[in-house]
C-alpha cells in the first residue's frame, strides 16, 4: 500500500474476500456443505450402532403411510376431528347445566338478596349483579365445559405428533395456490390461536408468502371460536334433528365449518398470490417428527393452565364490561324503547338480508374486543329485548339456563331459525380477527395497510357469503 488508495484494514479484508470469492468459484458454498455432510457421516458411522430395525419403527412407518396417504390421509383427518368434537359436545351438556344452576339459579338470587339487605341502590344492583356478574357467570357456564374437554384432546393430538402430518397432507395444496407450503403449519397453529399462528409465520422466509400466511391465518378457527361454533352447532343444527343423532350431526357441522375455513384460506391465498402479492412459491422441506407417546397427566395440566384457564380468564375480563354495557343499553330508555331495542329495530332489515338479525349485530359490536363472548352476549340480549314470558326477571337479566335444549327453545321463540344458526356459524368463521391478533399482525408487518386489509377482507367475504347463502336458502325453502 503506497498511499495511492488508502484502505483501512477492514476494507482490505472485504476486498480480499471479494477477490478470493471469484477465484474459488460458485460452488464454494456447496463445497462447505458437502464437507459438513461427509464429516458428520464419518463421525456418525463411528458411534452409531443400529441393530435390526425395531417393531416400533415399522409401526411408525406404517402409521405415517396411513395418515399421510392420498387415499386415507384426509378421511382420517376428518374422522379424528369429528370424534374430538363429538366427545366435546356430548360431554359438555351436563356440566354446563350444573354450572348454570349453581352460578345463575343459586348464587345470583343470593347476591340479589344480599344487595337488597344492605340497601344497595337499584341501578348499582342492576349494573353489577344483573349486568357484570351474570355476564361472567354465563361465560363460565357456557365456555368452561367445552374448553376443558376440547383443549386436552386437541393437545394430546399435538403432543402425539399428529398436527405436522396434517400440515404434510396440506402443504401441496398451499404450494399449488402460489403460497408457501409451510403455511400449512402456520394454519394448523392458528387452530390454537390466530395470534400465535401469525407469529409462527416467521418460519416463512419470503415476505410475500409470509404476508399471505398472515392475512389468511384468521380462516383457521381459533380457541375463542371453537366453543362458539360447537355451541351454535349444538343448539341449531343438533336441535333440528332427532335427539339420538344430535351429537354426531353437530360434530359434523363443526368439522364442515373448519374445512370451509381451510378452503377459504386456500382460495384467498390463491386470490392474493395472483393479484396484489404475485410471485412463485418457494421450495422447502418439511420434517415429520417421530410419534411420541403423549404424556397424559402433563398434557391435562398444561392444556388446562395454558389454554382453558387462559382463554376463560380473557373471556371473563371482557365479559364484565360487556355485561355492564348490555345492562345499560337494555335499561336506558329513549322514549318508549331502550337503546338496545332502537338499534335492533333499526338494523334488523339490513341484518335479515344476511340471515342474521339486529341482536346479532348489536352483540357483535359489544363483543368486538373479544369475539369469544359473542354467543353469551347474543343470549343475554335476546332475553332482555324479546319479552319472553316466564324467563328471566326483568330487562338486563339473563335467563336461567338448564340445558342447551332450553336455550334452543328460547332462541326459537325469539324468532330464530336454522338459517340464523347457519348464518351465525358462517359469520363467526368469516369476520375480523380479534383485537389481540390484529395487534400482533401490526407488530409483525409494521404496516397499517396490511393490518387493515387483514381486518376488513374477512368481514367483506363473510357478508358476501352470508348474503348469498341466505338468498339461496330463502329461494329454495
Amino acid at each position: 500500500m503506497k498511499g495511492i488508495i488508502i484502505m483501512s484494514n477492514k476494507e482490505y479484508i472485504i476486498k480480499e474476500a471479494d477477490d478470493l470469492r471469484w477465484e474459488l468459484g460458485e460452488n464454494f458454498h456447496d463445497h462447505i456443505i458437502e464437507s459438513v455432510y461427509n464429516e458428520a457421516g464419518a463421525i456418525a458411522a463411528k458411534v452409531i450402532n443400529q441393530k435390526e430395525e425395531s417393531k416400533k419403527f415399522h409401526f411408525d412407518q406404517w402409521l405415517d403411510r396411513l395418515v399421510t396417504s392420498r387415499l386415507t390421509g384426509f378421511p382420517i383427518m376428518f374422522l379424528l376431528l369429528a370424534i374430538v368434537f363429538w366427545i366435546t359436545i356430548e360431554g359438555s351438556n351436563i356440566p354446563s347445566g350444573l354450572l348454570a344452576s349453581l352460578l345463575v339459579d343459586t348464587i345470583h338470587p343470593e347476591l340479589k338478596l344480599l344487595a337488597q339487605n344492605i340497601g344497595m341502590p337499584v341501578w348499582i344492583n342492576g349494573l353489577l349483579i344483573d349486568g357484570a356478574y351474570l355476564a361472567m357467570a354465563w361465560v363460565i357456564a357456557v365456555m368452561l365445559p367445552p374448553m376443558a374437554i376440547f383443549f386436552p384432546l386437541f393437545t394430546l393430538l399435538e403432543d402425539f405428533g399428529y398436527l405436522p402430518r396434517v400440515a404434510f397432507n396440506m402443504d401441496n395444496l398451499y404450494r399449488r395456490v402460489g403460497a408457501h407450503g409451510k403455511q400449512a403449519l402456520t394454519m394448523s397453529m392458528g387452530f390454537g390461536c390466530n395470534a400465535a399462528g401469525v407469529i409462527a409465520t416467521r418460519i416463512i422466509d419470503s415476505p410475500r408468502e409470509r404476508l399471505i400466511a398472515i392475512i389468511t391465518n384468521n380462516f383457521s378457527l381459533c380457541n375463542g371460536r371453537w366453543p362458539t361454533q360447537i355451541l351454535i352447532a349444538t343448539i341449531f343444527i343438533g336441535g333440528a334433528v332427532p335427539a339420538h343423532l344430535a351429537g354426531i350431526v353437530s360434530a359434523g357441522a363443526v368439522v364442515g365449518i373448519a374445512l370451509l375455513g381451510v378452503l377459504f384460506s386456500l382460495a384467498v391465498s390463491w386470490g392474493l398470490s395472483n393479484t396484489v402479492l404475485k410471485g412463485e412459491a418457494s421450495a422447502f422441506s418439511l420434517e415429520l417428527p417421530p410419534y411420541r407417546p403423549p404424556r397424559i397427566l402433563q398434557t391435562l395440566y398444561t392444556s388446562l393452565i395454558d389454554r382453558t384457564i387462559f382463554v376463560l380468564w380473557r373471556a371473563i375480563i371482557f365479559a364484565i364490561p360487556a355485561g355492564l354495557v348490555i345492562w345499560l343499553v337494555s335499561n336506558v330508555q329513549m322514549g318508549e324503547l331502550s337503546i338496545a331495542e332502537h338499534f335492533i329495530n333499526w338494523s334488523n332489515p339490513f341484518a335479515l338480508l344476511f340471515g342474521l338479525n339486529g341482536i346479532i349485530l348489536l352483540a357483535y359490536i359489544i363483543a368486538i374486543p373479544a369475539n369469544e363472548i359473542v354467543i353469551p352476549t347474543i343470549l343475554m340480549l335476546t332475553v332482555t329485548t324479546v319479552n319472553i314470558v316466564g324467563v328471566g326477571s326483568g330487562a338486563g337479566v339473563m335467563f336461567e339456563l338448564d340445558s342447551t335444549a332450553d336455550t334452543a327453545e328460547i332462541l326459537y321463540s325469539g324468532g330464530w331459525s336454522a338459517l340464523t344458526g347457519v348464518s351465525l356459524m358462517l359469520f363467526s368463521l368469516l369476520h375480523n380477527p380479534c383485537s389481540t391478533t390484529l395487534y400482533t399482525i401490526y407488530k409483525e408487518t409494521h404496516s397499517w395497510k396490511w393490518t387493515v386489509v387483514s381486518a376488513l377482507l374477512p368481514i367483506a367475504i363473510g357478508l358476501v357469503v352470508c348474503f348469498f347463502v341466505t338468498q339461496i336458502w330463502l329461494l329454495v325453502a
Partner: protein
C-alpha cells in the same frame, strides 16, 4: 404437578439446583440452547429454569428466543432458548436469531440439543456450531426413543471425536438433567477444557483462502474466537457479516458482552 415431586426429591435436586424462572439479575454465565427443530430444547429449558415455555411435538414451536435463569453451585446462569435450526449457513428469520446469538451474543456455554434417533443429520448442525464456539456441551436427547428403536450410541467415542462433553438424556422424563448441569458448570468454570472438532476435508485452495482471511480478521479483531466462521461467511458474500465487519460491530459485541471474567481454556 410433576415439578412438585422433583422439588422434594433429593436425587434430582443434586447440588441445589435452584430454578429461578425469569429472575435474571446478576448472572455469572450465559447458556445458549441450540439444536435442530423439535429435539426438545424447550423441554430442557423448562427443566432447567422451572418455567413453562410451551413445548410441543412440532418443529418450529419456538420462533423467538426465550430467556430464563437458574442457580447451581452458588453460580447464577442465564439460559437462552433459541429457535431450532437445521444449519447456520442459511438465512430465514428464525435461523438468523439462533445464529446471531451464538455469534454475537457470545454465550459462555452453548448447549447443543440433538435427537439421538436422528444423530447423523443433527451432527451437521453440531459441526457448524463447533466451528464458531469454544465451549459447548452436547445433550444427546431422546436417548430413550433411540433405545426403543434399537439404536446404540457410543457417547464416549462421540465425546472424544467432538472434543466436548456428551450427556445422554431424556428431557421429557427429566433424565440426565443433573449430569447436564454438572457438565455445563464444568465447561463454564473452565474445569473441563473443550477441544471442539474443526472440519478437516475442506480443499487446500479453500482452506488457504479461509486461512488468509482469518489471519487478517484476527489482526483487526484480535479477541474474536470465531474468525474462521466470519472468514467463510465473507467468502460467501453474506451481506450482514460484511456489514458487521465494516461497522466494527463484530468486535464491539464481543468486548461489551464480556462483563464477567473470561474463562478461556
Amino acid at each position: 404437578m410433576a415439578d412438585l415431586h422433583c422439588e422434594t426429591c433429593p436425587i434430582h435436586n443434586v447440588d441445589n439446583l435452584i430454578k429461578l424462572g425469569i429472575n435474571m439479575e446478576g448472572f455469572d454465565y450465559v447458556i445458549a440452547l441450540t439444536g435442530n427443530p423439535n429435539t426438545g430444547k424447550s423441554t430442557v429449558f423448562n427443566n432447567l429454569t422451572g418455567l413453562r415455555q410451551h413445548t410441543g411435538n412440532w418443529p418450529g414451536k419456538t420462533v423467538t428466543r426465550a430467556e430464563g435463569a437458574f442457580g447451581y453451585n452458588n453460580t447464577k446462569y442465564k439460559v437462552v432458548d433459541l429457535p431450532g435450526t437445521y444449519s447456520l449457513l442459511s438465512t430465514s428469520t428464525d435461523e438468523e436469531i439462533a445464529r446471531d446469538f451464538i455469534l454475537f451474543g457470545k454465550p459462555d456455554v452453548t448447549v447443543i440439543v440433538v435427537d439421538a434417533t436422528r444423530l447423523e443429520r443433527n451432527l451437521n448442525l453440531v459441526l457448524q456450531v463447533l466451528e464458531i464456539t469454544e465451549r459447548a456441551v452436547l445433550c444427546l436427547n431422546l436417548i430413550d426413543e433411540a433405545e426403543r428403536h434399537n439404536i446404540e450410541i457410543d457417547h464416549r467415542t462421540l465425546s472424544r471425536e467432538l472434543g466436548i462433553p456428551v450427556v445422554p438424556a431424556a428431557a421429557r422424563q427429566k433424565q440426565g438433567m443433573d449430569e447436564l448441569l454438572k457438565m455445563i458448570h464444568e465447561v463454564a468454570s473452565g474445569k473441563y477444557v473443550c477441544k471442539p472438532y474443526r472440519m478437516k476435508t475442506i480443499s487446500k485452495k479453500v482452506s488457504k483462502a479461509v486461512e488468509s482471511i482469518t489471519q487478517k480478521i484476527l489482526i483487526e479483531y484480535p479477541a474474536l474466537p470465531n474468525a474462521r466462521w466470519v472468514a467463510m461467511r465473507l467468502l460467501e458474500g453474506d451481506q450482514s457479516v460484511i456489514d458487521a465487519v465494516n461497522t466494527g460491530e463484530l468486535g464491539k459485541n464481543y468486548s461489551e458482552n464480556k462483563t464477567q471474567p473470561q474463562h478461556v481454556a
